[in-house]
Symmetry: C2
Subunit: 218 residues, 2 copies
């Protein structure tokens, strides 16, 4: 019984890692659409999101079956509930990628991001993609050290968001209100993707150690 439980739990975590890889692709393609103004790539992100939603439902069904049929207690119970929370956050990261893709699509045939701020936004996209990529490895390897390191690296995203605000609020800004609003919202979406990535990684720390990251030296 215990062995069957842990096999099924491993299968849930494999699914979570798979969803995380889909989110990673969504973040990468959304950023590509944003920086190139490619409508087809933006559409691809938007239409692929339904797959992430379906994968989320399958994980929820599995987790509920585990809770109902195996009646886990203590650490096992907390692990299944953590998995339910992780899948909600991963789905939300997919939604945020769709928001990025929709800003890209809205400005086609133009590129939403003015040229001089493109490096900052490109870096936001790269940091978000890298964080999501590391989260799928953290889930697969139950890697506590990598999870704690991820929490520390979140600061670059905050710094990038501040940089983008300095640029768009400077007297040199020549691209008007619309582009500034786009960039403020994009900064917010990437920041939230990064926040959720850290949160999912923290849940892995909790699942493995039974403690929150701060208690294990993060």
């Amino acid at each position: 019984m215990r062995e069957a439980f842990h096999e099924q739990l491993d299968s849930v975590f494999d699914d979570l890692a798979g969803i995380c890889r889909s989110v990673e692709a969504a973040v990468r393609l959304a950023t590509e659409a944003l920086l190139t103004g490619d409508a087809e790539v933006a559409e691809q992100v938007i239409s692929a999101d339904v797959e992430i939603d379906r994968a989320r439902e399958r994980v929820e069904d599995k987790a509920f079956a585990l809770l109902s049929l195996q009646q886990p207690v203590a650490g096992d119970l907390r692990t299944v509930v953590a998995a339910l929370r992780m899948v909600s956050e991963l789905e939300r990261m997919g939604d945020l990628s769709v928001h990025v893709a929709k800003i890209a699509r809205l400005r086609v045939p133009h590129v939403a991001v003015p040229e001089e701020i493109r490096p900052t936004v490109a870096r936001m996209g790269a940091v978000a993609e890298d964080m999501v990529s590391r989260v799928s490895q953290i889930i697969t390897g139950r890697d506590v050290e990598a999870a704690i390191a991820l929490g520390r690296d979140d600061e670059e995203m905050d710094q990038l968001r501040r940089t983008s605000f300095v640029e768009l609020l400077s007297d040199d800004w020549k691209h008007g209100v619309e582009a500034a609003v786009d960039i403020a919202l994009l900064g917010r979406y990437y920041e939230r993707i990064a926040d959720h990535a850290v949160s999912v990684a923290n849940r892995v720390v909790f699942v493995v150690t039974g403690q929150n990251p701060r208690a294990v030296g993060a």
Copy 2:
């Protein structure tokens, strides 16, 4: 045993309604700070958020105790998991109110929102506050009809956000990029508060009927 379980579950739902009332106060005060530039009121929202976070932890502890000690199955299990999700969303709504209050505080002694767009932003705040207020009644009364009605009323918030964008992107906009960015982000925060309110109400529908709102005619 079953009776003890349902008494404890009722106590969890009482706590959820209480947290929802704290969120309602946070939304109201954040909007007040925003429209008056009152730094003290903004600080009040920001410092009170720790109480919402603590209340969330207490609900989580109760819910885990219910799961561990009472081992609910089927509908009872789904209800406890729904309560865990509701408390996460309520805490998030508190965080979003803090974001609103922080924009207010950032612009003190000025008012972040230019005068001609204040009616639109005031209405966003009022709609959000009203939705959160209705959610606490929906939780207390397990009121499926009111929950379904709430989902329909979410449209006003979307419309207000569109209105604010039309105003700040018009040629008549004289308040520069900073105020426009503030209003775009404020619109996003209020919209997310409304989204979470609908989501919490939908979970009440699920708890009472065992079905998602669409299946019961929403």
